[in-house]
């Protein structure tokens, strides 16, 4: 008994930080996902010249909380002929895999749950890929045709696009020479250039494949509402449905974070080594002040008094955040002796600001594409994956590798490598387009794609 207690204490002593981080992530993430949904609806409304949710709170700011309450108190329906155990297990798997994969990501140089994990990117990709079981088993357990077809489509889509995404990641990892998330960002610092600029084709491949992997428009075939009601989650309601939704949005954050880490320089600010751009460090604080000032300006124009107060409160929050963001920069200027003590805070706060900004930009791009492009047909989706993206990504890895060897012979160092990798990427793109053209000449496009057995 004594030994058990001692072991527990030792365990907690060694692992309290990651445990705490994990608990915080699990607690905060549903809120973040809810607000991403709100932002998505607002952006959709903006693009369609509407107002979007306006009723709950000023400008609909409390809508996610109302939605969460609604979902929690909804009746939980399990179909009569469903496989109860698997029906219960599937959404949990979906959310669990997505949340677990967040553990490998580093938000800023200091914040990482599984600190210094050697297999970083592989862990994130591998664990988040397990989420597919949630979709497949949920579709099967519902015992409904729509669900089953949605699940089949989803698994076919994920398996197809995972190859392209993996090959695109390999491209970035070739430059970094490591799987460790922190070292990847440091490699980009040393290189003086984001890997997304060194290998634009790989970044593009990853972008397309990540949209397909998160089942989002224009590749949202598994839940194409005009054909399949809601795909694999047709039979789900209330809280279980909310779990699927949470998993989906967490997956979005995960793929955006992976792309940010590997292709967009992680938590580095733009041009991290150019010293005359050091004023960019004040950008986070200044942007917060700008948002706060805008809120103060708009507050008198709100129709209801509560809404005015709410706007002012948001403005106050922005000013406090600005203080937090600027504090570590201003303190050393006032008291030089504090510079060393404040340095980690400065790196951590600014780093996580840039990281989150890049992740938000990536997610915004997802939404923009969703409201701009029409949905693909299933055979078109499969053709795009197998006949274009997979050859493109494989050729790209091959040519980038050759370009790196050539570059090392010509002593191209740091950012100069771009003169070897860009031509390689262009050649890869041209070869892939030729393959696509040859394929289509060989096999003329069938109307309707009826011979494809997976097309629902």
């Amino acid at each position: 008994m004594q030994a058990v207690i001692q072991a527990t204490i030792d365990f907690l002593k060694a692992y309290w930080a990651p445990l705490l981080c994990g608990v915080i992530i699990v607690a905060v993430l549903p809120l973040i996902a809810g607000y991403i949904v709100l932002v998505e609806r607002k952006i959709m409304a903006d693009m369609q010249a509407r107002l979007g949710p306006m009723r709950v709170g000023p400008h609909g700011l409390l809508q996610p909380i109302a939605d969460a309450v609604k979902l929690l108190i909804k009746e939980d329906i399990i179909p009569e002929s469903a496989d109860k155990l698997v029906f219960w297990l599937a959404p949990v798997l979906s959310v669990g895999a997505a949340l677990l994969s967040l553990a490998g990501l580093a938000i800023g140089p200091a914040f990482q749950v599984a600190k210094g994990i050697n297999i970083g990117i592989l862990f994130v990709v591998g664990v988040s890929a397990m989420g597919i079981f949630g979709i497949v088993l949920g579709g099967w357990a519902s015992n409904s045709h729509y669900s089953l077809i949605g699940a089949l489509r989803s698994s076919a889509q994920l398996v197809s696009y995972e190859t392209a995404a993996g090959m695109a990641l390999v491209c970035g990892l070739l430059f970094a020479g490591t799987l460790n998330v922190t070292s990847i960002v440091e490699a980009q610092y040393n290189q003086g250039m984001w890997f997304g600029l060194l290998a634009p084709v790989a970044f593009f491949t990853y972008l397309v494949a990540s949209i397909a992997e998160t089942n989002r428009a224009p590749f949202d075939l598994p839940e194409a509402e005009s054909e399949l009601v809601a795909g694999y989650m047709t039979e789900y309601s209330g809280f279980r449905w909310a779990l699927y939704f949470l998993g989906e949005y967490t997956n979005m954050i995960v793929v955006a974070s992976v792309a940010t880490t590997l292709f967009l320089g992680g938590w580095l600010r733009p041009f991290p080594r150019t010293h005359w751009l050091n004023f960019l460090d004040f950008f986070p604080a200044l942007s917060m002040i700008a948002v706060g000032a805008y809120c103060v300006m708009r507050a008198p124009k709100q129709p209801v008094r509560v809404q005015q107060l709410f706007m002012l409160a948001v403005a106050g929050l922005c000013f406090v955040l600005a203080l937090v963001l600027a504090g570590p920069l201003l303190l050393p200027a006032l008291k030089p002796s504090l510079a060393v003590a404040v340095k980690p805070f400065q790196d951590g706060i600014l780093g996580s600001f840039w990281f989150l900004l890049k992740v938000s930009a990536y997610i915004y791009l997802f939404m923009w594409l969703r409201f701009t492009l029409p949905r693909y047909r299933f055979d078109q989706l499969m053709r795009l994956g197998w006949h274009f993206l997979i050859p493109l990504s494989i050729i790209n890895v091959l040519l980038i590798g050759i370009a790196m060897i050539v570059g090392s012979y010509l002593h191209m160092e740091g950012g100069w490598l771009i003169f070897a990798t860009i031509p390689a990427s262009v050649i890869a793109l041209i070869i892939a387009l030729f393959i696509l053209a040859a394929e289509q000449k060989h096999q003329p496009q069938r109307a309707g794609g009826a011979s494809d057995s997976y097309a629902g």
Binding site: Q6, A7, N118, I119, L122, G126, M130, V136, S155, V159
Partner: protein, 172 residues
């Protein structure tokens, strides 16, 4: 202590999962239990500080092979499969084989107990900081010491892949 707890935790999950894989009558349930067993095995790899093997086990077996398994199972009409006889009737052969296996395992336990020191407790693995980076070491040994077996294995896999494509292709 922690290592022992983790090892026996994952090991028991793996064994229970494996047994349930064979005994459950529903093919999808079997697949789920097989996934559980594979994940528990990955956990044992992690307890041994073999991070790379841990994630490869998950990506290959759980994320790759089992997805295809489940995919195929869902396309098969399960009602027919349930009515068919699922267990062969070689009871006596099975009994002899499992007794032999049990004897082997028993012998192992007996000899372990006789060893000096640890007994059944798991020896704690070295702290992570003292180990070389896992994936780099695997890569080095694969591409230097074991280059020939590695290449032979990859050619074998390529042959299997091409064979599958040729067989799946429609004859025109």
């Amino acid at each position: 202590m922690l290592d022992s707890v983790l090892f026996y935790f994952f090991a028991s999950i793996a064994v229970i999962g494996a047994v349930l894989t064979v005994t459950s009558r529903n093919a999808v349930h079997s697949a789920i239990f097989l996934i559980t067993a594979l994940l528990a095995t990955a956990g044992i790899f992690l307890q041994l500080r073999a991070e790379f093997l841990f994630i490869v086990q998950i990506i290959l077996y759980v994320g790759g092979i089992m997805v295809l398994f489940v995919f195929v199972i869902m396309l098969v009409n399960l009602d027919v499969a349930v009515r068919q006889m699922q267990f062969t009737r070689q009871k006596w052969v099975a009994l002899v084989v499992s007794l032999a296996l049990a004897a082997q395992v028993g012998l192992m336990f007996w000899s372990v107990r006789k060893m000096p020191g640890q007994g059944l407790a798991v020896i704690a693995a070295a702290p992570v900081e003292s180990l070389k980076p896992n994936s780099e070491e695997v890569a080095k040994s694969l591409f230097s010491t074991y280059l020939l077996p590695f290449e032979i294995a990859s050619v074998l896999l390529l042959v299997a892949m091409i064979g599958a494509v040729v067989m799946a292709k429609k004859r025109t």
